[in-house]
């Protein structure tokens, strides 16, 4: 069995590289704008403007911050554990970026006589790949917290370990319903299977579980216990400053994007538009991005509104509510599909 999904076209190797570079460049161009977007939107939620002085509309703000952090003093606490301290943020950002390869931005297009898929790769085990990367990325947090040699970081990483493991189970189970219905593990296949109806309608329960679990997986409010400012100062990245800190921040945002993209692909029909509208192929990526922005806005909205959960509430919610629900959802879907 081939690892890659069955594709009925051949892509030259240089197109693969070109695509990788393009996706990487575009995402890392969009990321800073995303941070500005978050800050401005938060500002609007809070009756203020948000950044608007550095560059036009404050768009240069992230550039200034990246340069500033890059020029910060290189540093390692004396109590930290040697190379693990430096490895952890790299692990975090690399796994996050790895997830980007999976996002289907559009279907197969004929560009200059070559068939090109508008995605990094199309694996026959798409969701599993993403989960595997998410599983590894948690090591970035755990190691970072532990290797810092600080008690606050340690507590943060302990929380992260418990939280990520317990919510990954529900997240995975909530997807199985989709996979059963689509009867494929290829992400493009799943999108194509949604031509009749987006899975958000038949799999509403699964969608909600997936979203809640995604908030927990990305450590965003109200599940930001891992880095809870008020309790643990900065959580696992308390001791990180300069570039490694930016790496962690970016990893968080990339994770948000990957999760949004996954939700778009699995539940909102990827690049498909409703009501039988079939735009030309080059519009597809923009449709995906628009749907992702929807989720991003949701992320920010929730952050501006909800208070943080407590540790035991988080655990009991994950194990006592989400997991049974996800299992039930899976069973019901399975019965309906088989029957």
């Amino acid at each position: 069995m081939s690892v890659f999904a069955d594709v009925n076209y051949f892509e030259p190797w240089w197109i693969q590289i070109l695509k990788a570079i393009l996706i990487f460049a575009v995402i890392f161009g969009v990321l800073p704008i995303l941070t500005v977007y978050e800050r401005k939107l938060l500002g609007r939620f809070q009756h203020r403007y948000g950044p608007n002085r550095v560059g036009p509309y404050g768009l240069m703000q992230p550039l200034a911050e990246i340069v500033k952090f890059a020029r910060k003093e290189a540093f390692r606490p004396t109590t930290s554990v040697g190379f693990l301290f430096h490895l952890a943020p790299a692990l975090s950002i690399l796994t996050a970026v790895g997830g980007l390869a999976l996002i289907p931005w559009g279907g197969v297009q004929n560009i200059l006589g070559t068939n090109v898929g508008l995605y990094g790769i199309d694996v026959s085990v798409g969701p599993l790949y993403v989960f595997a990367l998410a599983g590894i990325s948690f090591y970035g947090i755990l190691l970072g917290g532990w290797a810092s040699g600080s008690k606050y970081s340690f507590l943060g990483s302990m929380r992260a370990a418990a939280q990520l493991i317990s919510y990954e189970v529900s997240q995975g189970l909530s997807l199985v319903g989709v996979l059963i219905t689509a009867q494929t593990l290829s992400l493009t296949g799943i999108v194509n299977a949604q031509r009749g109806m987006w899975y958000v309608i038949p799999q509403l329960c699964g969608f909600l579980i997936f979203m809640v679990a995604s908030f927990a997986e990305t450590n965003r409010a109200p599940f930001d216990l891992v880095e809870a400012d008020a309790e643990l100062v900065g959580g696992y990245f308390t001791e990180y400053g300069g570039t490694p800190f930016v790496a962690y921040l970016f990893a968080e945002y990339v994770n948000m994007m990957v999760v949004s993209a996954m939700a778009t692909t699995l539940f909102l029909g990827g690049w498909l538009l409703p009501f039988g509208i079939h735009p030309p192929g080059w519009v597809d990526p923009f449709v995906v991005v628009a749907k992702m922005m929807l989720f991003m806005t949701l992320f920010i909205w929730i952050r501006a509104t909800l208070p943080r959960l407590r540790y035991d509430q988080l655990m009991s919610f994950g194990w006592k509510v989400l997991l049974p629900l996800a299992t039930l959802n899976l069973l019901v879907t399975a019965i309906i599909v088989v029957a």
């Binding site: 403007y49 990246i66 500033k68």
Partner: protein, 219 residues
């Protein structure tokens, strides 16, 4: 706050170098070095300074009354986030600026020094309010002025200063970081480049309000 200037000889040598360049007397390695120094580094340095000045993260650190007014600068009316100083970081590793907002007691001073040492370079300190600049009304056994144990970049006067004053102080710090510090009265009275020379022993015979102190006479 001290304004550092390059010494006269250094300035002179740079002037000579520039003249040589214009006459195209500079050649080979010397020319490369000149270009590197004059164009590349300064542009890069200025870009970095621009970046550093525009994204100063303050430390979430409050001491007393001033801390409440410090909180007001992120509040809706005087949204400091507009300038990019919004992200108050709780961990000193990620913060660039410590605002000493309030009175510094003898018990607290070593702690503050330690927090400051934990911050990563480049780092800045603002002393907010009368208490930690000069101890204000509480000149007593319990307090220490911040200048004694921290290199303060900007003093913001007031008791407590209005949020506007603190914002002004932070913007002043930004100007300072970016290298285009406005020199206040020197600029206003066209006295840039002058130095304030303190009167030595026995020079107090010039009445403080009556005439120009000798140090300023050469302006």
């Amino acid at each position: 706050m001290e304004i550092t200037r390059e010494s006269a000889t250094e300035f002179r040598s740079r002037q000579m170098l520039a003249r040589d360049m214009l006459r195209s007397d500079l050649e080979g390695e010397a020319f490369d070095r000149y270009v590197e120094q004059a164009v590349m580094t300064t542009t890069l340095d200025r870009a970095v300074a621009w970046a550093q000045g525009n994204s100063i993260y303050p430390l979430t650190f409050g001491l007393a009354c001033c801390a409440i007014e410090m909180m007001s600068i992120v509040a809706a009316r005087l949204d400091i986030a507009r300038f990019g100083f919004e992200a108050f970081r709780a961990s000193p590793r990620q913060a660039d600026m410590i605002i000493l907002s309030g009175r510094v007691s003898m018990k607290m001073a070593p702690v503050i020094r330690r927090i400051y040492d934990q911050m990563l370079e480049p780092k800045f300190a603002i002393s907010m309010g009368a208490c930690c600049s000069s101890m204000g009304v509480f000149n007593n056994y319990a307090l220490v002025p911040a200048d004694k144990f921290l290199p303060i970049d900007v003093h913001v006067p007031g008791c407590p200063p209005r949020p506007e004053a603190l914002a002004h102080g932070i913007l002043k710090l930004r100007d300072k970081v970016q290298g285009n510090l406005r020199e206040g009265w020197r600029e206003r009275y066209d006295a840039v480049g002058t130095e304030e020379v303190l009167p030595g022993e026995g020079e107090f015979d010039v009445a403080p309000g009556g005439g120009t102190p000798r140090g300023l006479a050469g302006a």
